[in-house]
Symmetry: C2
Amino acid sequence: MEWKETLSRYIDLTNEALSTYTDIENGENQQVINAMQYSLFAGGKRLRPVLTLAAAEMLGGSAKMALPYACALEMIHTYSLIHDDLPAMDDDDFRRGKPTNHIVYGDGMAILAGDGLLNLAYEIMLDDATKQPNPKPCLKAAHTIAVAAGIHGMIGGQSADLMNEGQSKQEEPSADTLAYIHEHKTGALLAAALTAGAYVAGATEKEAEAMKSAGFALGLAFQIQDDLLDLEGDAEEMGKPVGSDLKNEKMTYPAIYGVEASHEKVRALTDGALGIFEGFGSSSAFLQSLATYLISRRS
Amino acid sequence: MEWKETLSRYIDLTNEALSTYTDIENGENQQVINAMQYSLFAGGKRLRPVLTLAAAEMLGGSAKMALPYACALEMIHTYSLIHDDLPAMDDDDFRRGKPTNHIVYGDGMAILAGDGLLNLAYEIMLDDATKQPNPKPCLKAAHTIAVAAGIHGMIGGQSADLMNEGQSKQEEPSADTLAYIHEHKTGALLAAALTAGAYVAGATEKEAEAMKSAGFALGLAFQIQDDLLDLEGDAEEMGKPVGSDLKNEKMTYPAIYGVEASHEKVRALTDGALGIFEGFGSSSAFLQSLATYLISRRS
C-alpha cells in the first residue's frame, strides 16, 4: 500500500503548511483567527490539496512548490462549508461530528471567518507568485483557482443550489439544474485542484486541459458518491446525520436517476478519470490509486 | 473646478468597467449576479477606485492600466458592506437610502453576493496580471490589496469591531481598540487604494510607502468624519438614519475624545496627507483637491 504512504505525506505537508499560514498575531483580530483555525482543523480529508500536490509531482514538479496553491484550495473549500452551514443557508449544526463554526463562534464571526479564509487563500497565492523569478505558471494556477471558486464556478453552484432548495415538491427537479449544481459547486474546485498543481509544475495547456477533464469527472463521481452515502451511509462513520438531503428536499442524483444508475455513473466517471491519468504514464500511479479508492469510501 | 471634472472622469471610468465586469452569463447563477450588481450600483461614492486611478496618473501611469485594481477595491469594499449589514452583524435595513442586500435578496443570497464580489475582485486582478508581459508591478498591487483586505487589515478590523460592540456600558472603550478598528476596518483599504495605483504605475518602494502613509492618514480622517456625520449630520443628506452608532453602543472617536478634538484630528490628519502629496509636485493637484474636499463633505 505504498500509495497510502504518499497520501499521508501529502496530508502531513498540507497540515503543517496550514498551521504555519494561520499561526499569526495575537491581538485584536484573535477571535477571527481562532474561528478560521477551528474549521480548518476540524477533520477535513484534504482531498483538494492532495490532488494539487499529486498533480504537481506527476508532472515533474515538487509538492513544496505547489503547497501555497494546495493550501489556498483547502481554505476556499473550508470557507464555503462555513458559509453553507449558516442558518441563512443549509442551517447545519454539525459537520464531521463537531459543532459547526457559527454554533461555536456565532453567526457574525462565522461569516468573518469564511471571508478571512477566502481572502487568506489569495494572500498566500499572491505572496508566493510575487516571489517567483518567473511568476507566469503560478499566476495561471492562481487564476484557475479564482475562476473555479467564483460565480462561474463554486459560488455559481451555491447560488443555484440555494434557489432550488425546497422546490422538489412543487415541481420536478430539473436534471440540467442538478448537473449545473454538481459541476459547479463541487466539480469546479476539484478540477482546479488538479489543474493548478499541473500549472505550477509547468504543464502545457493540453496537459492542463486533460487534468481539468479528469478533475470534473472525479468531482462529479465524488458528489454522487456523497449523495449515495447520505442515503445509504452510516451516521457514525459519516460523522453527521444521514438522510439530511431528503429532509431538506435537496435535489440529488439518486433522487432523479435512482440508486443503481447512480452507482453505475460513479464507476463510469472514475473509469474516465483513470484513462486520463494512465495517459501520463507511471508517474500517475498515485492518482490512479486515489481515484480507485474514492469509489469505495464509506464516509 | 477642474478637479471635479477629473473626479467625474474617474467615476465614469469605474462605473463603465464595473458594468462590464458584472455583465456576465444569464443562467443558473443569475440570482447571485443580480444581487452583486444591486449593491455594486447602489450609489457608492467610488472613493477607493478614484484614489487608485489618481495615484496611478500622479505617478505617470494611465488610469486604464489601474482600472482592474480600482474595480477590485470597489468590489471588496462593497462585499464588506453587504456582510456588515447582515442581521448577524450590524443588522442594517438601509444603506445610502436603499434597502440593504439581504432585505432584497434574503440573508443566504446576500452572503453569496458578498463572497462573489470578494472572489471576483481577485479574478479580475489575476486575469489582468496574467496578461502582462511583466506582471511584477501588478502582482505587487494585487498583493497589497489582498493584505489590506484580510485578517491583517479590514477583516481584522471587522472582527475587533464585532467583539467590542455593545461593551461600552460595561467597560470604558479602549482607545487602543478604537484605533485598531479605525486603522484596519477603513484605513487599510484606503491606504491600499493609493499604494496599488502607485505600484501599477511603477512606483518605487519609497514612493509606495509614502502613498501608504497618506492613505492611512486620509482613511482615519475619513472614518472620524463619518463618526461626526453620524452624530451631527442630516439623515436626508446622508441617505441613512443618523445616531445609529449611539443606538448600537458603538465605540467612536467622538465618543471617546469629544466632538471638538475629533474635528481637530480630522484637520491634522488631512494636513499630513496634503504634505505627502505636495512632495510629488504638481501632478498631485487632483489628490490635494480631493483630500481638502473630503473634510468638508456633508454625507
